[in-house]
């Protein structure tokens, strides 16, 4: 390569990709940035909990009993004298894990399912999406309750069950993306260049379908966490000795007349986390200019 070309390329103005554009827009959205920061904070805390929690998870102090927030116990203690902050930190590990893992399950199944249906098209697509339609009509909330009753409260099962519900929407979104992208002229251009299908999917389809997937994933996590908390509240989700925010709220609600802090702090933590995720999701939706995805 001659030097002139090297210079021309090196001197060429750097373009701004759509991702960079989106990032600039996202950074201008203060609520979304705040959401991202809070979320990252929560994740770091959850990861470090075993080392930084102020008390041991199972440390009881029956003599102490339930006390309001104090210097020794920043968020107070429960009836067994357990430190509420410690409980919330350990509960957060479970709640966040459920949110992220179940969403990943949904993402994995939904995106592959939708991508295949949308790319292959025709009869395969019709059959695959028909199945999604039928599953969609099933009352899954009730089914999850049923599953938890029948097979006992099992965290793995909870991941799978929630993931199995949420993948349906993911599949629909991905399939819609694939379908509309396939009709775009730049994909036709790629075909007419003679690119192999794998390259077309990797270079031309996936990068362009990513936006809505990212947005919907961000919005799925809070709804999954809500579902987990809902089940735990009913006593059908996480069970002792493990704990989660939903379970803590459930205990707190039982004793809120005497010890309101036991309800308020876990509730606040859950709400703030859900806020962060939703703000981030909304911000991403605006930044990536995704329209028409499920609200």
């Amino acid at each position: 390569m001659n030097t002139e070309v090297i210079q021309d390329i090196a001197q060429a103005e750097e373009g701004t990709s759509l991702w960079q554009d989106a990032w600039v827009r996202l950074r201008k959205n203060h609520l979304a940035v705040l959401g991202l920061v809070v979320l990252l904070f929560m994740i770091v805390i959850a990861l470090l909990t075993p080392w930084i929690a102020p008390y041991a998870y199972d440390a009881q102090n029956l003599d102490l009993g339930a006390t309001p927030p104090s210097a020794a116990h920043w968020l107070g203690t429960d009836v067994f004298g357990r430190d509420l902050l410690t409980q919330i930190m350990y509960g957060g590990r479970i709640s966040l894990a459920v949110g992220f893992i179940a969403t990943s399950v949904a993402l994995l199944i939904g995106v592959s399912w939708g991508a295949i249906a949308g790319y292959v098209g025709g009869r395969t697509d019709a059959i695959m999406m028909r199945l999604v339609d039928i599953l969609y009509a099933l009352p899954f909330m009730i089914f999850i309750v049923l599953l938890m009753v029948v097979f006992g409260r099992n965290v793995i099962l909870l991941f799978l069950a929630i993931g199995a519900v949420e993948w349906l929407t993911m599949a629909r979104i991905m399939r819609g993306q694939m379908q509309s992208l396939r009709q775009q002229e730049f994909v036709e251009a790629a075909v007419s260049l003679g690119l192999p299908p794998a390259t077309i999917i990797r270079r031309h389809l996936v990068p362009n379908a990513l936006g809505p997937i990212i947005v919907y994933t961000t919005l799925t996590i809070p709804s999954v966490m809500l579902l987990e908390a809902f089940l735990s509240f009913l006593g059908l989700g996480i069970q002792p000795p493990q704990t989660s925010w939903g379970l803590l709220i459930s205990y707190g609600a039982e004793t809120m007349e005497e010890y309101p802090w036991l309800l308020i702090y876990p509730g606040l933590t859950l709400t703030i986390t859900l806020f962060s995720l939703n703000f981030l999701g909304d911000g991403l939706r605006d930044a990536l200019d995704v329209r028409g995805s499920k609200d």
């Binding site: 009509a137 009352p139 909330m141 009753v149 029948v150 509240f233 009913l234 809120m256 859900l274 609200d295």
Partner: protein, 313 residues
């Protein structure tokens, strides 16, 4: 339209059948028989009990018999409370849950819809931010947290409203209805805002303005119908969500409705009860989904046209 309705009903039948089948076998393969826990049951008594509940027959004939009972509207007896049937419990709980659900749905659609429409009229002004901020709180504040908090504030601290019951003391229906409806009001507010924004940017809205129509007529006559279509389509899923929400709300407020019975049955492992209520609630949800689809389609002349000519969307 009739054809569309008929075809959707036909589609609903296999779904309901699938629900019944899956539920039935799930409950039956669950570890532990229903009478295992009971101590010192004389073998003869156990056999008699099993015969009464057809447990001595092969699984598949149990299934067929259950289907037969269902076809006659018989959801079967309760395992735990001999002499009581699932039908009785549904009969007792349904009116309460239906009333609670109706109030919640009214709150959700009226308040949510209104807030969304108001927000959409002046996007990115306080008129938009305030209702949308409230909606965000509604979405992030789960029912099982909002309920106790409302009880704490309005029931215990302020002592304005009763904290439990249903129809016993005047005003005891207010808190449960708000608790159940709030999240859906929030969803509907966001949906209707997005829908209205979309519609109000359409060319035909400009046409309406060019005719000289006053702004309120532009919004009401030309905007609402298209803008609220997504809300109508959402009513089906909202109904399913409200039912699930009623489990929580009825537990919190100690309301003798279907939801509470269901949760109790789940705890008691009262299998016939779970089976019966699951089948019943699922059928309701499937039918409600169908209803909201049909309603949404009937509001959209283009879809209606497609269905009439036999094509699918």
């Amino acid at each position: 339209m009739g054809r569309f309705l008929a075809s959707r009903l036909l589609q609903a039948i296999p779904v309901i059948l699938a629900v019944i089948t899956v539920t039935f076998f799930l409950v039956r393969v669950a570890p532990g028989g229903p009478f295992d826990s009971e101590k010192a049951v004389i073998p003869e008594v156990k056999a008699a009990l099993e015969a009464q509940y057809r447990l001595d027959q092969p699984l598949f004939s149990q299934y067929l018999a259950y289907l037969g009972d269902l076809a006659q509207g018989d959801f079967g007896p309760s395992f735990k409370y001999p002499g009581r049937s699932v039908n009785e419990l549904i009969g007792a709980g349904l009116p309460v849950t239906a009333e609670l659900g109706l109030y919640a749905l009214l709150i959700a659609t009226l308040i949510g819809g209104l807030a969304g429409v108001i927000a959409s009229l002046r996007p990115n002004t306080p008129q938009d931010y305030v209702p949308m901020a409230l909606a965000m709180i509604g979405i992030c504040m789960p029912t099982f947290l909002l309920g106790p908090l409302l009880v704490l504030v309005f029931g215990i601290e302020l002592e304005w409203l009763p904290v439990s019951g249903w129809g016993d003391i005047p005003g005891d229906k207010i808190l449960p209805s708000i608790t159940l409806g709030a999240a859906y009001a929030a969803y509907i507010a966001r949906l209707s805002r997005a829908g209205m924004l979309e519609v109000l940017s359409q060319d035909y809205i400009r046409t309406a303005r060019a005719k000289g129509l006053p702004e309120w007529q532009v919004v009401v006559k030309h905007g609402l119908r298209g803008g609220l279509l997504p809300v109508v389509a959402f009513l089906g899923p909202a109904f399913a969500g409200l039912l699930a929400g009623s489990f929580v709300v009825e537990t919190i407020f100690q309301i003798p409705g279907l939801g509470r019975f269901y949760v109790q049955a789940a705890f008691n492992r009262d299998y016939t009860m779970i089976l019966g209520t699951t089948v019943f609630l699922s059928t309701l949800i499937v039918l409600f989904n169908l209803l909201s689809d049909v309603l949404a389609a009937s509001l959209n002349p283009r879809l209606r046209h497609q269905y009439q000519t036999g094509g699918m969307p």
